[in-house]
């Protein structure tokens, strides 16, 4: 609803309520006044009749009393008029409508009135010389009051309508005082929001709250205008920045593209280098294998012929010559061993077999009976397996070499007169591996040397103390690494050493060998 109609409604409603209240109060008041005056009038009439009837009653003249009562017909609202004697006998009566209506007697001696059942009854005693000789009763209906109230109500309703009309006219003129500036403001606000034109201003017409509102609105417009321009500037700056950044980014992008191309090239180079290196490595491996394999033949000749010479020339050579010959045969023998070691090492890389399920217990048993039987007997060494070892999935040849090397190592490095005792245990390790530990009761290794024992040709002792080529542990490390495991040592000097390694446990998937067995069956 428009503010105009709201204002008018408020004014009209206030007006109506005020008028209705005033009208109601007026009618209530008028009714009260009318009742009082009616009672007074009727009482006065009753008193006058009482006075007039004195003589009639004193001289028992009913006709006279009736004549007096007859005069009541002038007042059409009076329905009954009665004169009673002091003995409460009806002396004379006047009835406007029906004679049969009897008045109910109240106390004769009392001057009084009674509003009941739409009528007013008044009584007045008839007093002659201080003695009550009878009473007059008058009853009037309330028609005049109702007539008056009806007329008053009509007048009030008429006044109400006229006042409302006047209020409507006045308020429709006067409401513009309040509503016009607001409407103007609303129109302006609409214009501003539709055209986004923040330069317009509202015209202040008064110093009241609406004036304040207009001031505030204008100030707000000013602020919006300012913000707007600031925002526009900021937007421009932002666009410029975005452009700059975009340019930078594309530049970087180009550089990156160039870099990526360079990297790719480098990678390609690396790949070709790697391939070259691998080729070189393979060639080297082949060379080592071939060299060592082919060097064995002449060396064997040197060794065997040297030994034959030693036998045939024994006792014929001078001391120095015999000793020189022995040195030569010894050197050749040691060289043969070294070449065999190298062959083994290179075979680890070149002659690999597919992984099989291998029983470690069996391996240890076979080693005891075959490869290591002589050493064990010679050194009076013992091998203990406290708990059965698990199956592992490895190259069966290489695992045998590995175990042999570790056990032989443990037996070899012993203090003089000490009986070697080797203990082999195992436990599961992370990533589905089995950790196998080979513990000896030998001389042990100092912590500073523990990192280098697995290096090729590394020897901690002189050839006179312990015989060896320095290839065995390097081979062990190579085998474990080929199986994706780790190798290590835990030791203190004089307290023995524990060599440990991890190898793959038996995987759940069937192996190639299993498949072959199945197909052959």
């Amino acid at each position: 609803m428009a503010i105009k109609y709201k204002l008018m409604t408020i004014i009209m409603l206030s007006c109506t309520i005020g008028l209705i209240l005033a009208g109601g109060a007026f009618i209530g008041w008028e009714q009260r006044v009318f009742r009082t005056s009616m009672t007074q009038n009727l009482s006065t009439q009753a008193k006058m009749i009482a006075d007039n009837c004195k003589a009639s009653l004193a001289f028992q003249d009913t006709q006279d009393a009736e004549k007096i009562l007859q005069a009541l017909h002038v007042d059409s609202s009076i329905t009954i008029g009665c004169v009673y004697t002091s003995n409460e006998e009806l002396f004379a009566a006047y009835y406007r409508d029906y004679p049969e209506v009897k008045l109910q007697l109240t106390n004769l001696r009392r001057q009084g009135f009674d509003f009941k059942a739409g009528s007013l009854t008044v009584s007045s005693p008839i007093i002659l010389d201080k003695e009550i000789i009878g009473a007059v009763f008058l009853r009037s209906d309330l028609t005049p009051m109702y007539t008056m109230l009806k007329r008053s109500s009509q007048i009030i309703i008429a006044v109400l309508f006229i006042s409302l009309l006047a209020a409507f006219l006045v308020s429709s003129k006067l409401q513009t005082v309040i509503s016009r500036p607001i409407l103007n403001l609303a129109q302006l606000a609409k214009t501003v929001s539709e055209r986004k034109d923040y330069t317009t201003r509202a015209l202040k017409q008064s110093n009241d709250e609406v004036g304040l509102l207009i001031d505030a609105f204008n100030e707000m417009l000013g602020q919006i205008q300012k913000r707007d321009s600031e925002l526009f500037d900021a937007k421009e700056g932002l666009a410029r920045k975005v452009d700059e950044r975009t340019a930078e980014l594309s530049k970087t992008n180009e550089q990156m593209t160039v870099e990526i191309a360079e990297r790719k090239q480098a990678e390609l180079k690396q790949q070709s280098l790697n391939a070259e290196l691998e080729e070189a490595n393979n060639e080297l491996k082949n060379f080592v294998y071939i060299a060592s394999h082919d060097m064995r033949e002449p060396l064997r000749k040197i060794t065997s012929f040297g030994t034959m010479l030693e036998k045939s020339l024994s006792g014929k050579l001078v001391d120095d010559d015999a000793e020189n010959l022995r040195f030569m045969v010894d050197g050749a023998t040691r060289m043969t061993k070294m070449i065999e070691g190298l062959l083994v090492y290179s075979r680890v890389s070149t002659k690999a077999n597919p992984a099989e399920i291998v029983d470690l217990n069996e391996i240890v048993q076979q080693l005891q009976q075959l490869e290591l039987s002589i050493v064990l007997e010679e050194k009076q060494a013992t091998i203990e397996v406290p708990k059965p070892l698990p199956n592992v999935e490895v190259d069966p040849v290489q695992i045998r070499q590995l175990m042999q090397n570790f056990i032989a190592n443990g037996i070899k490095y012993q203090a003089k007169g000490n009986l070697p005792r080797i203990t082999i245990t195992s436990k599961p390790a992370a990533d589905g591996m089995i950790r196998v530990e080979v513990t000896d009761n030998g001389i042990g290794i100092a912590p500073e040397n523990q990192g280098s024992v697995f290096a090729m040709f590394k020897r901690l002792h002189s050839r006179n103390e312990y015989e060896g080529t320095g290839i065995g542990l390097a081979v062990c490390k190579k085998i474990v690494e080929r199986h994706g495991g780790k190798v290590g040592i835990e030791s203190e000097p004089g307290k023995g050493a524990t060599f440990w390694f991890t190898v793959p446990a038996v995987s759940s998937k069937p192996t190639a060998v299993d498949k072959e067995v199945e197909s052959s069956v």
């Binding site: 009439q45 006058m48 009749i49 007039n52 004195k54 003589a55 009639s56 004193a58 001289f59 028992q60 003249d61 009913t62 006709q63 006279d64 009736e66 004549k67 007096i68 007859q70 005069a71 009541l72 017909h73 002038v74 007042d75 004379a92 009566a93 006047y94 009835y95 004679p99 002659l128 010389d129």
Partner: protein, 220 residues
Amino acid sequence: MPILNTKVAPVYAEGVSLKLLMKIRIYILMVAMLVLLAGTGTQVQADSAASKEYQVKAAFLYNFIMFVEWPHGKITDGNEPLIIGIIGKDPFEGAFEPIKDKLINGRKVVIKRFEGLEKLRKSEAEMNRAIEEVRKSQLLFICRSEEKVIAQIVDLIKGANVLTIGDMPKFLESGGGIINFVMEEEKVRFEINGVAAEAAGLKIRSQLLRLAKRVIEAKK
């Protein structure tokens, strides 16, 4: 106001039922009387009816006092009793008994009985003394025995402001009496001689005049 201003017009229409009632009552009464007359105690019943009539008349005598104004001095300022004189052969007998203690305007009422004029004249002194007493009374009821000498009695009390009352025909015309009782349909009514009242220096209130069956007024 309307009651005072309106000349009481003889409108009987509304009073019909009442009148009818009264008539019925009267018929019953008459029938009863006829029956009684036909019986044995005729004299006693007649006396009883007569005494009732005089009881009403006695009451009326008292009431007249209240509707008549005596000139100043006739009724003294003190508490002296009012005097009702009865001259001649008294017909009231015990009619005053029920109202003998009634006060009027705060005064007692004394009934004084006088011999008839014929008898009084026998002794001059007695006559003068009685007349003096009579002149003191406010009200004088002249009995039927005095029918022939009404004028003389009125003459004797001339200037004494006495309200003379009688109950015989021609009381007003023949002798100058002021109020005369008449019977109308077994009801006691009265007529007033305004001229005589004026001559006696009495003012009769309009209410009383209105009730009178007949009023003799001074012709101007």
